[in-house]
Subunit: 266 residues, 2 copies
């Protein structure tokens, strides 16, 4: 089963296109957990346990583990192993480099962590991403239009009457196959998503930026026009309670979001 | 002492602007070393030992360690600790993400690995890089025009009569301070380097791509016009011999390159 087929399957089983972003921050952990690095493992484990039947997958943000060095890196691996294999495991690593280096990154993400998907940065062009696309059964999410304010700096600049993010999508659409080529489009850009959906009606999109980052769920679901998509939410779910009910609270938030998303998707 | 001051100091002491890129590949290790992950530590250690008095620093390419998971990550940390502190330690990690994530990456690179410099990707704009610039005594090398073929895909596309890489440089030039803002310009683009040096005569450049990637040393040194720069060489130095003399052979290559570079710099 390819990652894309797995997405279709789990989305149907769990009735959810929501993905929970695991971006643990030591200072924000529930008071019941000790202020030590291993608590981020316990925290993420409990959230996975409480939500795994109501999401389509998890997005693990490498930075939040790498900041703790080898200890954090070990926890990252343990969490990848812990997540059930019928869910989509996204390595949010935003990698890309020259060819032989990207090949090593692809090995790290797909062979070592055994992720189903990765986020990659298009700035260095075709040969910097092709080693990821060589894994034809995975999903490679290319950053197109990101959710942050800095997306204005370059991504929206006009080249031959088109914004750079559109050029990125149109150029890279055939770098992989139709099922392993995805794009990241921030939930803060519903207007642009309408246009993007016209260019890539069938490609899977990773849409972060709802919740703490302020993306409007209704607008983004309507703009997505029922195309294959994974909506990511991080902070507003995982830090919804700082008390001992943090895992159940996260599950409640997921349920609420699923309901909202599924309603707007009708 | 800031990283930039350290660069000026070590460049003068070691009479070198050459940096050795540590991109170890298990299959290419000298036959005398066992085919096991820890051999990449021994290999890099021996090369550092043999060349540390004739280079300005080392560039550690994270992908080549991350592909071995936790074991590789541990070796990466040991190598950072091993390199003498009077040399420039460059984390070639090409990171960047939304603000709170980049903050965590910056912690990983500067607080945990204690690198002097990092390579970062500009695609996500200002707020994705500002957490790195907050470390005012480090050097942040922004990818501008990279050495690989894919630099044609987007970096050379024209926006308001200027290529994207030029816009990146002109926009980001004030995101940090004059001493912690550097740019990556591939040695395969000497003609463009002439233009870039006019825009940023005093900013430090990281120039990879000589040797295996085919950059012409004479053309690139002349184009650089004696601006502050670090020339990186990886494969043609570290894999210059696959016999037991690999470390001395690397040192001989470095000597040769120093002589060539210093001659053209006069």
């Amino acid at each position: 089963m390819t990652a894309f087929e797995k997405y279709l399957y789990v989305k149907n089983i769990n009735k959810s296109i929501l993905c929970v972003g695991l971006d643990p921050v030591l200072e924000k952990l529930p008071v019941i957990l000790k202020k030590e690095v291993n608590s981020i493992y316990i925290f993420c484990r409990d959230i996975i346990e409480a939500t795994k039947n109501m999401v389509c997958g998890y997005k693990l943000n490498f930075a939040f583990f790498e900041q703790f060095g080898v200890e954090g890196y070990e926890i990252l691996k343990r969490l990848f192993d812990l997540i059930p294999n019928d869910l989509i495991k996204i390595a949010d690593a935003k990698r890309a480099d020259i060819g032989n280096t990207s090949k090593a990154y692809a090995k790290s993400i797909f062979d070592y962590f055994m992720a189903d998907a990765i986020t990659v940065n298009p700035y260095m062009g075709f040969d910097s991403l092709s080693p990821f696309f060589d894994y034809s059964d995975k999903i490679v999410f290319i950053l197109a239009l990101t959710s942050n304010p800095g997306s204005q700096n370059f991504q929206k600049k006009i080249i031959n009457e088109k914004p750079l993010y559109q050029l990125v999508i149109e150029d890279s659409i055939n770098w992989g196959n139709s099922k392993n080529t995805g794009f990241v489009v921030g939930a803060t850009h519903p207007k642009e998503l309408v246009l993007i959906r016209k260019i890539v009606p069938d490609n899977i999109l990773l849409i972060p930026g709802i919740g703490a980052q302020g993306g409007d769920i209704e607008a983004i679901i309507k703009a997505n026009n029922n195309g294959p998509a994974i909506i990511n939410v991080s902070r507003s779910v995982i830090f919804s309670s700082s008390e001992k009910d943090y895992a159940e609270s996260a599950a409640q938030e997921v349920k609420k979001l699923n309901k909202i998303i599924n309603n707007f998707s009708k």
